[in-house]
């Protein structure tokens, strides 16, 4: 069924749309195309499909939406495009216009519209789901825990880590001051993100501890919500995106810096201004908010400017070989490439090894891996091959989304590698 023909969001990115001159170089870089080898997978095909929509040749059909969704927004096409055409911008905008025309379908409408914006309810549902997880699904190997795409990931055979018994928000206080004898150098807000909150709370505790010991007062506002990535980037639900954006802007009103341990959250928080600013007031507020947001490794290196001696190995990683996986949202969306490597290389007692194609997408991409789990697995298998070729004991990243994908895919491929967040390397 076709919806009404309006292109409000697409029109805002018309220059990106026009920039593509159909050379097809993106086919080489696109992780989805490399698996499927069909033109609708790749930026050129999607862009021309959207042009077809504007020209009246195509409609907002189910098939149209299905092809639009088949993109991890990894930005590798743009990074390598001779014309620098940002087709992911156009894809997100087209998802938004599709939602306006067709609405969000069940059960995603319930998740995006109703659950995501209500943090407490969200947490309780996650916990509720975790009981079922214990009943219906085999417990996973090791000590891993996770699950945020709980509703859909259930029953798809994924190696699903467990939900934490206590969420981060229930563990850490709102204000965390440096311990006695450590001078307070600055005050930052900590954006915890859903994954760290519900799945990896010990990571969050560790980050709070590390920052306070290094002279940072850490504020963890209880009012903060989901960054909105699954809603506005994944599903094109800009209304929910704005609701979440407004909540987060307000929650972090009184801090100068906001740090996040999740590449996707960091990038999405910064993207509010680009995608969601529908009024001059929002535009200004989102832009100001976005400027305050830092990835944790970027914050440590560029803002806090910690000396190399501040990076000491956690006991369990001493003597290990470590490799780094670049999250798409860090390396291409934000251009953060050197800072995490600098941190790992500064740690005495760990050996750093660069993996081939470290910046290749892992195939997680949030809702993408829910819609297209088989495809997502194939993309991940290539990543696992890269990791395996290094002989590393530990693969480190800075995005809990990527980490979940890496946990699932290394277990599936029986690769004996530990998946960790970069901050977990540090004492």
């Amino acid at each position: 069924m076709a919806g009404k023909r309006e292109f409000t969001e697409i029109k805002r990115f018309e220059s990106d749309l026009e920039q593509c001159m159909k050379c097809g170089f993106c086919t080489f870089w696109c992780p989805v195309y490399q698996e499927e080898r069909v033109e609708s997978s790749v930026a050129r095909g999607k862009n021309l499909m959207i042009r077809g929509l504007l020209a009246g040749d195509l409609e907002y059909t189910k098939e149209f939406a299905a092809r639009l969704n088949k993109c991890t927004l990894c930005m590798t096409c743009t990074a390598n495009c001779p014309a620098k055409a940002n087709i992911p911008n156009v894809i997100v905008a087209a998802r938004a216009d599709t939602v306006k025309a067709r609405g969000v379908k069940f059960p995603y409408n319930i998740v995006y519209r109703w659950i995501l914006p209500r943090r407490t309810l969200f947490g309780n549902i996650v916990r509720f789901a975790s009981w079922f997880q214990g009943v219906f699904l085999p417990r996973t190997e090791g000590t891993i825990r996770h699950l945020a795409m709980f509703l859909s990931a259930l029953g798809k055979g994924r190696n699903i880590p467990q939900i934490a018994p206590r969420f981060l928000r229930q563990i850490v206080p709102v204000v965390n001051r440096p311990p006695a004898g450590v001078e307070t150098r600055m005050k930052v807000g900590y954006f915890t993100g859903c994954m760290t909150d519900f799945v990896f709370p010990e990571l969050g505790e560790h980050i709070v501890d590390f920052l306070t010991r290094n002279g940072v007062e850490v504020v963890v506002p209880k009012e903060q919500g989901c960054c909105g990535a699954p809603a506005f980037l994944g599903a094109g639900d800009f209304d929910t995106g704005r609701e979440l954006a407004d909540t987060n802007v307000k929650a972090f009103e009184n801090v100068d810096y906001i740090v996040s341990d999740c590449a996707t959250c960091t990038s999405s928080l910064k993207d509010y201004a680009k995608y969601l600013a529908d009024t001059p007031e929002r535009k200004e507020a989102y832009a100001r908010f976005g400027e305050k947001v830092y990835d944790i490794s970027q914050f440590l290196v560029d803002v806090l400017k910690l000396p190399a001696s501040a990076y000491r190995a956690a006991p369990e990683v001493k003597g290990k070989k470590v490799t780094w996986h670049d999250p798409c949202h860090l390396v291409r969306h934000l251009g953060i490439k050197d800072q995490p490597r600098q941190i790992i290389k500064s740690i005495p007692d760990v050996e750093y090894v660069e993996m081939p194609n470290a910046d290749r997408c892992c195939g997680m991409a949030g809702t993408f891996s829910v819609y297209y789990y088989d495809l997502s697995k194939k993309i991940a298998d290539k990543k696992v091959e890269s990791i395996g070729s290094t002989g590393a004991d530990i693969v480190v990243s800075s995005c809990p989304g990527c980490e979940i994908q890496l946990i699932d895919s290394t277990i599936r491929n029986k690769l004996p590698v530990k998946v960790m967040h970069i901050m977990e390397l540090l004492q």
Binding site: C23, G24, F25, F28, V38, E63, P82
Partner: protein, 463 residues
């Protein structure tokens, strides 16, 4: 419109996952790398075996359904656009490298292997396949054979046809035919491999390709020379070629491209340079040193204002990236860009450049150009807007003048892109009429029902 039975029969051949009929998918196979042409197919078929292709062609031939074979669709001639609808037969899912033989120095591949993937695999074995159309990141080997593609390396190493030893081709009636072999020498009858090379999908579907390889050159050096005057740059190319040294590549970039690229990706290019030559010497390290010195000397004697030698691989890579981004710079510059692909004898390059200047003055159109100066193949472009009927017609007329100027110097209509749809209107002027007629007769023998990429290369009777 295609009969529904045909679609269900196609699904039986390739499985449902190999047949696309959604309008969204058909739209995605309606174009190639050109700006002017689009046409939707009725169905897209993605076979994975030669046998499937054979059955598809048999079915299409019996039902007289047009079949346009397509690789990655990176071609720039309109050649892979299904202008008569019917089936797009897309080979991108046949991407296996079947054999790399280090001792025979040959490789056999399926048609959907991407050129860059092929060279990455070969480099691991210390081998190299030189034909390098600048679409190497996307283009398939099958496409490069069907278009007889070439690129910068052509100066020293030649184009696709110089590397082909054997092909497997499915004929219009579904018969799977083998021509050529795996030997470097082969004098068995007519050169039928060449018949299909550059045939633009009109004579058969290439399903297996055997090529010869060369060892990966051990060393290379890249040079960049700045000229005040484009004609002097052209003359420098002729001087180098006459001196006995053969560079691996000699590429030409004009001021327009230099400025556009510096604007898109700042890399410290000399934006006031009227013309840049990019050159590469390759081979064993000692020879590369002496060749480089000789080339630099000639460039300076020929009036180069400045000659830079890239200090390392990274700087060299940046220069070549600039060159390969060149056409993006050009294509993004206007709503419609008419780009030609003429080639002139290499000793006529300076003269041809002079004529381009005259045509520009006479017609009032700015003529931008870049190209493979070392093989006399230039891509002059005119910026226009297809929506402005009058201007577009004048731009097309100016292009006609460019083509005729090349022809008057002993040049050809297309150096490497092929005729496809783009250059049909000039074909009669560019070929001996008997030779043109012979091509049509060959087509008639191999494809009596005219199902294979119909409407391409020559203009149809009464069109």
């Amino acid at each position: 419109m295609l009969k529904p039975e045909i679609v269900s029969q196609l699904q039986k051949i390739t499985g449902k996952e190999g047949v696309l009929t959604a309008k969204e998918d058909l739209n995605a196979y309606s174009y190639d790398g050109t700006a002017t042409w689009t046409h939707m197919p009725d169905v897209v078929v993605l076979p994975t075996t030669t046998e499937q292709i054979s059955q598809v062609l048999k079915l299409a031939n019996e039902n007289k359904v047009p079949v346009t074979t397509r690789g990655a669709g990176t071609n720039v001639s309109g050649g892979s656009i299904p202008i008569k609808g019917g089936i797009v037969l897309c080979t991108t899912r046949m991407y296996k490298i079947l054999d790399i033989n280090k001792t025979n120095l040959t490789a056999t591949v399926e048609p959907g292997v991407v050129l860059q993937d092929f060279n990455i695999a070969l480099a691991k074995e210390g081998l190299f396949y030189p034909p390098d159309p600048q679409s190497f990141l996307g283009c398939t080997l099958g496409g490069t054979v069907a278009e007889n593609a070439g690129g910068p390396y052509c100066v020293k190493y030649g184009v696709t046809k110089q590397y082909l030893l054997g092909l497997e081709v499915v004929l219009a009636n579904g018969y799977v035919m083998k021509v050529g072999g795996v030997t470097v020498k082969n004098r068995t009858g007519y050169e039928l491999v060449m018949l299909f090379t550059g045939s633009e999908g009109t004579l058969g579907v290439i399903t297996r390709i055997t090529v010869r390889l060369i060892p990966l050159p051990a060393a290379s050096k890249t040079m960049m020379a700045v000229f005040d005057d484009m004609v002097a740059g052209g003359q420098a190319v002729s001087n180098i070629l006459a001196s006995g040294v053969v560079p691996a590549k000699i590429e030409f970039v004009d001021n327009f491209v230099v400025r556009r690229i510096e604007q898109m990706t700042p890399m410290g290019l000399p934006v006031d340079a009227n013309a840049l030559l990019l050159l590469m010497a390759d081979g064993n390290p000692a020879a590369v040193e002496t060749d480089t010195q000789q080339i630099v000397d000639i460039l300076k004697k020929s009036g180069a204002k400045e000659v830079k030698i890239a200090k390392d691989a990274a700087e060299a890579a940046a220069y070549w990236k600039m060159r390969s981004a060149g056409f993006a710079a050009v294509f993004g510059a206007a709503h419609t860009v008419l780009a030609e692909d003429v080639a002139v004898p290499r000793d006529k390059l300076a003269e041809f450049i002079k004529k381009l200047g005259e045509i520009s003055e006479r017609t009032g159109f700015f003529i931008q150009y870049l190209g493979h100066a070392g093989d006399g193949n230039l891509h002059p472009s005119i910026f226009t807007d297809i929506r402005k009927e009058d201007e577009f017609a004048r731009a097309q007329a100016a292009m006609g003048e460019i083509f005729r100027a090349a022809l008057s110097l002993g040049g050809v209509l297309s150096g490497e892109h092929g005729i496809g749809l783009e250059k049909q209107r000039f074909l009669k002027e560019a070929m001996d009429p008997v030779a043109l007629d012979l091509m049509k007769k060959i087509k008639g023998i191999l494809d009596p029902n005219n199902i294979l990429n119909p409407g391409k290369i020559w203009e149809e009777e009464g069109a």
